[in-house]
């Protein structure tokens, strides 16, 4: 049987606000437990919430970026359940009146095709604290620093048909929230967390299969693995005559398996009702326009501009626009050297592999955009060849000089373009390889073609790579023919 996979994602993005969504406490990650929990965050009797305007602004930014309808009347609701890291016994969230309504995102798949994924809604809510189960000798510790951190829960339509599509969607959201400056996207610290709703159905069937929700998958790699593992489990289950039960599951990356957490029957009745401590928040059209005016160029707009302005391929343009930092870096290189294609090649080639190898982000690149642009300029004006440029780049990365020019100067890497000097060098090379010259001259055209490369190699070696390769080619051909 041919199976179709259906995936929808719920992504929780922590909003980068200075203080929490309903209290004045700071939201910095990694502080000593319970040092960033105020009376409100602790759920002290008699305390009341006050909504953080910046959280609203951030959510509206996201809504505008995905072309969604903005909920002009926002109602906060209480989601009631008991848990030790939920201090009030309810989470303040949004139910019937979310701040962001239906929107969409275009995602670029690996083969370069673009797919539109629907966003059902996005709503504001408060994060819970954390239960700490280690180091307490059989007891649990509660850290409420995270309690009350603003979250935007972004719910997608069940539009994705493979784990790779789901990852592409998650990456697009990740890139977008960072572009907008509304979330730092740090998945290791839990700033962006993902729940995956997965079901399978026979190809051609229109109704959905029974879905399972995999909670809290916290890296792109795990999203892909968790979904694939879960899909495999569901298909095997059905093919063995079983039935998928709607439930919440947890992914264990160590065992690469998903495990049942709780079934639908065990699910809480959250008893949602409008929070009486918060009045409905009514947004003015002028506020929406003000936020629209603050929107930066978005990934898709940037990609399209890179294609039209610089003539880059769709693939190159989407790689370079994937993050705002990378795009800014590329544009700075381009501006310095005036050659978008060379800039793109170097950023996506040498620079990317350097960063990958070192495990660095673009912001931490040891080679600055100005340095790389300056180096490309020297390739363009024939001061150095592409091959020497790689040496210069490595030297820049190793911090051996402030600029490409300084390194070229210090290491004497300036390309030799004086034809007299090149000819003298070639004469020496040919003299040293007299037998091969004899052989060359006796050979037919096809054989000569192959042997020519040998002489070029010897010549470049003799010049320590500094001789201008084009001139070497021309003069060498002349001498051998002669």
């Amino acid at each position: 049987m041919q199976w179709e996979i259906v995936i929808g994602l719920e992504i929780h993005a922590q909003l980068t606000t200075a203080s929490k969504i309903f209290s004045g406490s700071a939201t910095t990650f990694g502080a000593e437990p319970n040092t960033q929990a105020s009376l409100v965050d602790l759920g002290m009797p008699g305390t009341l919430p006050v909504l953080n305007a910046q959280a609203v602004r951030n959510a509206v930014k996201f809504g505008l970026a995905i072309d969604a309808e903005i909920g002009m009347t926002n109602v906060f609701a209480r989601k009631n359940y008991f848990y030790p890291d939920l201090p009030k016994g309810y989470q303040t969230s949004q139910m019937d009146h979310p701040i962001v309504g239906k929107g969409y995102l275009d995602i670029t798949l690996e083969d370069g095709t673009v797919k539109r994924v629907g966003v059902t809604r996005a709503h504001l809510e408060e994060d819970a604290g954390k239960s700490l189960h280690e180091d307490f000798h059989g007891m649990s510790g509660i850290d409420l620093n995270r309690a009350g951190t603003p979250l935007l829960e972004i719910v997608s339509e069940p539009d994705m048909r493979s784990a790779k599509e789901a990852v592409a969607y998650a990456k697009t959201i990740h890139s977008l929230v960072r572009y907008l400056g509304i979330c730092d996207g740090n998945m290791a610290e839990g700033s962006l967390r993902c729940d995956c709703n997965v079901s399978v159905r026979p190809k051609g069937q229109t109704e959905f299969g029974t879905r399972c929700e995999i909670k809290n998958v916290n890296s792109f790699r795990f999203i892909e693995k968790a979904i694939n593992t879960e899909v495999q489990r569901q298909i095997e289950l059905i093919e063995d005559g079983g039935k998928v039960v709607q439930e919440t599951r947890l992914y264990d990356p160590n065992k690469d398996e998903t495990r049942s957490m709780r079934s639908k029957e065990e699910a809480n009745d959250y008893r949602y009702f409008p929070c009486p401590d918060l009045l409905p928040v009514v947004l003015e059209p002028s506020f929406i326009e003000e936020v629209r005016g603050e929107l930066p160029e978005l990934p898709q707009q940037k990609r399209e501009r890179f294609e039209s302005q610089f003539g880059l391929s769709t693939y190159d343009a989407s790689v370079l626009s994937a993050s705002r930092e990378l795009a800014d870096y590329f544009e700075q290189v381009q501006q310095t050297c005036g050659d978008a294609k060379l800039a793109a090649n170097w950023v996506m080639g040498e620079l990317s592999s350097l960063l990958n190898k070192e495990g660095l982000e673009i912001e931490q690149s040891p080679v600055s955009a100005a340095q790389l642009g300056g180096m490309i300029l020297r390739i363009k004006d024939n001061t150095i060849s592409g091959k020497i440029a790689k040496m210069v780049f490595e030297a820049l990365a190793a911090g051996e000089g402030d600029s490409a020019d300084a390194i070229i100067e210090a290491k004497g890497l300036k390309q030799v373009t004086d034809s007299g000097a090149i000819e003298a060098m070639l004469d020496e090379v040919l003299a040293a390889n007299a037998a091969q010259v004899e052989q060359y001259r006796a050979s037919d055209e096809a054989k000569r073609g192959k042997m020519f490369g040998f002489f070029v190699g010897q010549a470049m070696k003799a010049s320590k790579g500094k001789a201008n390769p084009q001139q070497v080619n021309e003069l060498l051909r002349k001498k051998l023919e002669g």
Binding site: L39, P45, L51, N80, P84, G89, I142, F273, P276, L279
Partner: protein, 483 residues
């Protein structure tokens, strides 16, 4: 000196014919002598009261006193007071020392008032008799076999028993006005949003409102002056200027239009109360008011709507009392579920548990529309009734409760009959409008109460009307025998 009203005491303090320390010592002595039988205080803070009194005397001497400087007050033990137990009348919070100060009590501290202590209440303000407190029932100084009303019964008994000059209360369904009526006091429930709820432990957030309980309308005006005002810490607080409540007390009632809701003078109303209000109507007419009958057609739906909305909010508000961070925790919990179940089962009393269950049920999936949503629609209808009424009249006059104070134990096993005692007060909470309760007479030695309800933010007018009535009557001047 305890026979003086707050306004008179304020004068005496300003004139330095009396010191706050003397006055505070006097009240503390009375509490020691008389509160054994009344049980109006849960906590008496003698030491800090005397410190505050000394500071108040210094402030008066320095010439920067307010009307409240040096006045000994009591606060309902639902207002958080920093470093002091804030029990809410519950075993659940018997060990809870508040780490912060409520906005209302902070404003009194800033005004230089003295706090004698924290008064008894129905557990978490859920009740109409102050019998459901973990600290035992409070008794009515007019007849100690009877309840003082509730839930602010401790404040009512303390003021009526002259164990403080005035007190704070809170009113969710009548918890200031009904006990004021039972103890011959003047008590005001302000417009929802007029007084900050920060630090006032929530029972039903959309209905709760703090307010003053005192001997006279004039005293209530002085108290409300301190309590009222915008607070950025309470999102439901209204940012609107606070008028000078004392300035308009002597305005004339000529041309005042008073409405009598016919639904409130039907079956079930005690004859003596009905007669007292008829007499009050004549007084108001003599003062120049016009009185006419009006209708609040949806009033009969108020009790069922209230007993869905208030428990629903309470069931959520009281979830934080889970034995994890503060308050009562059961011994040796076997696991997390056991900790929750036993801490709450052992920490809450019967009425609180009943309302949590009712509220949880009303919010459950499949019942929400039939109960909570329907109750909210009724709430809107009741509000509309008031808005329509205020197009015809300026204020509404009605009883505070169907009968005078009942006996301790009389209704405690019959929750529905207890709920029905709030029949005249609940509508104002559902609509969010202000109301002032004041004494209208006596029957068999028991006070009879009436209330005036006005449009939003009409507190100054309500106090003016009550004050004018108190200029031509002396019900409010009577003291219970022995106090």
């Amino acid at each position: 000196m305890h026979e003086k009203t707050l306004a008179e005491l304020s004068q005496a303090l300003q004139n330095k014919t009396l010191s706050s320390v003397e006055l505070t010592q006097h009240y503390l002595k009375r509490i020691e002598q008389l509160d054994g039988s009344l049980n109006s205080y849960i906590t008496v803070t003698a030491e800090s009261a005397l410190e505050q009194a000394a500071a108040a005397d210094a402030r008066i001497a320095a010439g920067n006193a307010t009307a409240l400087t040096g006045i000994p007050l009591a606060h309902k033990d639902l207002f958080c007071t920093q470093g002091q137990r804030t029990s809410c009348g519950s075993k659940m919070l018997d060990n809870f020392i508040s780490p912060y100060e409520s906005t209302v009590t902070q404003r009194f501290l800033d005004a230089g008032a003295v706090s004698l202590g924290k008064t008894n209440l129905d557990e978490f303000a859920m009740g109409s008799s102050t019998e459901s407190s973990f600290y035992g029932p409070t008794r009515n100084p007019w007849d100690t076999a009877r309840v003082p009303g509730g839930s602010s019964g401790g404040s009512a008994a303390a003021v009526a028993g002259r164990l403080c000059a005035a007190a704070t209360g809170t009113d969710t369904g009548g918890s200031i006005r009904q006990p004021a009526g039972f103890t011959a006091l003047t008590g005001l429930k302000p417009t929802y949003g007029r007084v900050s709820r920060w630090g006032m432990v929530a029972y039903a957030s959309s209905l709760d409102q703090g307010g003053p309980m005192a001997r006279t309308a004039e005293d209530c005006a002085l108290m409300l002056q301190v309590m009222a005002g915008f607070d950025a810490k309470d999102s439901t607080s209204v940012d609107q200027p606070v008028p000078d409540y004392s300035a308009s007390l002597n305005d004339s009632l000529k041309g005042l239009r008073i409405g009598l809701p016919k639904e409130y003078f039907a079956a079930g109303l005690d004859a003596a109360t009905s007669d007292a209000i008829s007499a009050a109507v004549k007084q108001f007419q003599a003062l120049g008011a016009e009185v006419r009958e009006i209708s609040l057609p949806n009033a009969e739906l108020a009790i069922p709507a209230y007993y869905v909305i208030a428990p629903a909010e309470a069931s959520s508000n009281l979830s934080r009392f889970d034995g994890v961070r503060f308050g009562y925790r059961c011994d040796h919990p076997a696991d997390l579920t056991d900790l929750y179940k036993r801490s709450r089962a052992e920490g809450f009393g019967a009425e609180v548990k009943r309302r949590i269950m009712v509220g949880t049920y009303a919010l459950s999936a499949g019942y929400y529309d039939a109960y909570y949503l329907k109750a909210q629609k009724i709430r809107r209808l009741i509000k509309n009734d008031f808005m329509a009424a205020y197009e015809q009249v300026d204020v509404i006059l009605c009883p505070t409760s169907p009968t005078p104070a009942f006996k301790i134990g009389e209704k405690i096993d019959d929750p529905v009959s207890l709920y029905l005692t709030d029949i005249y007060t609940i509508t104002a909470n559902l609509a969010g409008v202000p109301g002032v309760a004041l004494p209208a007479g006596f029957a068999n030695g028991l006070p009879l109460g009436m209330q005036l309800l006005g449009p939003y933010f009409s507190e100054a007018r309500l106090l003016n009307i009550a004050h004018q009535y108190q200029q031509v009557t002396d019900w409010h001047q009577r003291a219970p025998a022995g106090y």
